[in-house]
Amino acid sequence: MFEAILLTVMTAATPLVIAAMGELVAERSGVLNLGVEGMMIMGAVCAFATAHMTGSPYLGILAGIGGGALFSLLFGFLTLTLVTNQVATGLALTILGLGVSGQLGESFVGLAGTKLQPIVVPVLSDIPFIGRVLFAQDLIFYLSIALIIGVNWFLFRSRTGLKMRAVGDNHGSAHALGINVVRTRYLAVLFGGACAGLAGAQLSLVYTPQWVENMSAGRGWIALALVVFASWRPWRILAGGYLFGAVTIGQLHAQAFGVGIPSQFLSALPYAATIVVLVIISHNRRTTLINTPASLGKPFVPDR
């Protein structure tokens, strides 16, 4: 029973963690992409359609990543090349994504999906209790864990990651140091789009293997909140993602068991928690200064 609940929590948390990791990288480079929801749903529809037509969920994953990345490229072109307002463009991207995905997915509604099968790691999966939970999961779960380790290493150990943080902290100075601000941000935005697309693929291939319009159901917004909740730290995304995932699942169980907590309260909880975290971190100016990308959301135009 407990194992089953834990497994559903992990399945609910995985897309949040993946999308948030992508957004974290984009925001660390100074780009606020509010289009996570739109990129996620595009990933979901591309993944489902490809998996359905080819019969291969793995090609579906690739298509999901590609769909999200392509969609983020549009965002990058608008905000980085044409220097449009990031907030407005991100919102537009979400609305556009929901619309386009509905159109693309119209003929796939109600069709049977191709579920991504778990990869059972021999020996390790026999470990009592945690074995089944950790080592009999699907590829996307393993990728989510690899993503956290990889992004953490990239941001805080690699020189390229250092440059990316520099761009996010002070793009003027980064430019003066000869770092290509626009290219760095394009790559970060693309990575964010690819992650959002992968998260979308998880929704339509693992979480509920079918296509339903608007099936991302606000998870992109939770992922955005999660980045702030984690104060732009990769490992905190893992903790926050599982916490928010647990809340989502808890909400379903609470309804099923008729617990007296209104479900609206539970679904608002991630956002309320994010506000609390925002208040806490902005109370201490030093932690804000060191963790928050200072040029987040600010357009960059080199003075030539």
Binding site: K163, G178, N284, D303
Partner: protein, 528 residues
């Protein structure tokens, strides 16, 4: 480290006819410049003379519109800072290009070869900084460092790339005289190693002290190349300004009158972890007096200004008195109504809204204190545009504010002209108490002397003036008495004539013992 192979070539860097156009405006117009190996070369000029533009072109931040740059005799085009560094040009910016969220080591690593590991860079930076007398801890976050320490990072960062030419933009504006001396020693060490230094400054005494040659710019053109040691400050200033700078005229201001601004043992807790707490600050300024408060940046000047102006009230209502009225908890407009005026340090964003016109900026500051003059219709508060525009024109004329158009935005004025306007905006009210913070920071010599003269004239007409400044020349020009602020403590005020530069330097460096004795003595005297 630098080999002296370039002995056959007279110049390390030559610039020929370099021009930079912004639209039709020539920021730099046909500039020639020669820097020899192993010389400290000064680049002198007023604000807006084109110094920064020239330097940005040399460092690849801006591209010249025409003209040529020769590096060791070969024509080069420097299209990026990275390329400048590859050639062997290092730069220490006036406004530091540091990343507050990163550590000292990470900041330095960003400008170096990515193949070198971070730990190795940190090690090298620590040893190099020690060798040049600029101690630094590579693991500290920049956000936690003082301005002086941040400058050291910039210098060490430039040095780690083993440059042949180091460009320093106004490096001493944030240092104590002792820190500046230390910097000069570092520069002499660099010179002895055969490196060249391009030293940008408008402090003539420094240039005369350390520079071998000087190129003077005015309005984007070279107006002279000279050996600064053969010149007098007046002749250098003439090249910079074009005409003789009006010497500030200060006769004896007569015996001071009644106390107009009185501060008694005022303390103020820091609002942020970065702020300085004010500890037991006392001062009294009489009519006809100019009290200058000297000190190195970040010792509580900003905080002192904030509580004097009423931007942040203090708990003890009686700690501050303006013309005998307690104002500790009174906000800024209440204090203005008592006849006080305030000029904060930051021109943009604090003293003026850059995107708004001068007349709007005038109204923003004085809508409350000069309500009758500028607002009509009682509760309706309708703006009298005619009166506001007339007052703006009057201020611009009195203070000689040079602007394009009738009522341009504050942001379109050069720093010096905007500062003249902001000071003039307060002077126009004939305030009986005026508190100014860094009145001539980053302002050219002509505007600075105009502003200083205005402050003295105001005191002469019977007002009490407080000038918070880091510029010791300015302090000696305007002050009748001088106090020094260090780590939030204010020394007793001494008559300007009795303090030497060395003594002030010691007080600024935080020699508190004598200060505390002095302030105790001061309190004892006040008690009588």
């Amino acid at each position: 480290m630098v080999s002296s192979q370039d002995q056959g070539e007279p110049s390390l860097l030559s610039v020929r006819g370099l021009t930079k156009l912004f639209g039709t405006f020539a920021a730099c117009d046909g500039i020639d410049l020669d820097i020899a190996p192993g010389e400290i070369h000064a680049l002198l000029g007023e604000n807006g003379a084109g110094k920064s533009t020239l330097v940005k072109m040399l460092f690849g931040v801006l591209q010249p519109s025409s003209g040529q740059i020769l590096w060791q005799g070969k024509p080069v085009s420097i299209s990026s800072p990275g390329q400048a560094r590859d050639l062997g040009i290092g730069m220490v910016f006036q406004h530091f290009s540091l990343f507050e969220a990163l550590t000292v080591g990470e900041n330095i690593a960003l400008s170096l070869d990515p193949k070198i590991s971070l730990s190795k860079i940190s090690e090298e930076a620590a040893s190099l900084s020690k060798a040049y007398g600029l101690p630094l801890d590579p693991k500290m976050h920049v956000a936690d460092l003082s301005v002086g320490e941040r400058q050291r990072i910039e210098i060490v960062r430039a040095l780690l790339q083993n440059p042949k030419l180091i460009i320093l933009d106004e490096p001493t504006s944030v240092l104590t005289p002792q820190e500046a001396d230390r910097l000069f020693e570092t520069l002499f060490k660099l010179k002895a190693e055969g490196r060249s230094v391009l030293y940008i400054s408008h402090r003539l005494d420094e240039v005369q002290r350390i520079c071998d040659r000087a190129t003077v710019l005015r309005h984007g053109k070279v107006t002279g190349v000279c050996d600064p040691r053969q010149e007098t400050p007046a002749s250098l200033a003439r090249m910079m300004v074009g005409s003789d700078v009006a010497a500030v005229h200060r006769e004896d201001l007569g015996t001071p009158g009644e106390v107009l601004l009185d501060v008694k043992s005022m303390s103020f807790a820091p609002r942020t972890p970065f702020a300085v707490s004010l500890k037991n600050v006392s001062m009294s300024v009489r009519a006809g007096e100019v009290l200058a408060i000297a000190g190195v940046a970040g010792n509580g000047q900003g905080e002192l200004f904030d509580v004097l102006s009423g931007e942040y009230p203090v708990a003890d209502h009686d700690a501050i008195k303006i013309r005998g009225t307690s104002v500790g908890r009174t906000r800024i407009n209440g204090r203005r109504l008592l006849g006080a005026g305030f000029v904060p340090e930051e021109r943009h964003g604090h003293a003026a809204v850059s995107q708004m016109s001068l007349s709007d900026n005038l109204l923003l500051a004085r809508a409350h204190s000069d309500r009758k003059a500028f607002l009509a219709g009682g509760l309706g508060k309708v703006i009298r545009h005619g009166a506001v525009k007339a007052a703006t024109a009057r201020i611009c004329q009195v203070m000689d504010v040079r602007k394009s158009g009738e009522d341009p935005t504050a942001g379109s004025l050069s720093g010096g002209n905007l500062q003249k306007f902001i000071v003039g905006r307060e002077l126009d009210r004939q305030p009986s108490v005026l508190v100014v913070n860094q009145p001539t920071w980053g302002v050219d010599a002509g505007a600075a002397s105009r502003i200083r003269q205005a402050l003295i004239d105001l005191a002469k007409s019977g007002s009490a003036v407080v000038v918070i400044s880091q510029d010791l020349d300015e302090i000696f020009e305007v002050a009748t008495s001088i106090a020094v602020i260090s780590e939030g403590r204010l020394s007793d005020a001494y008559p300007a004539g009795t303090l030497s530069l060395e003594r002030i330097g010691l007080l600024m460096g935080g020699i508190h013992d004598s200060t505390q004795h002095a302030s105790h003595a001061g309190e004892a005297a006040d008690a009588h």
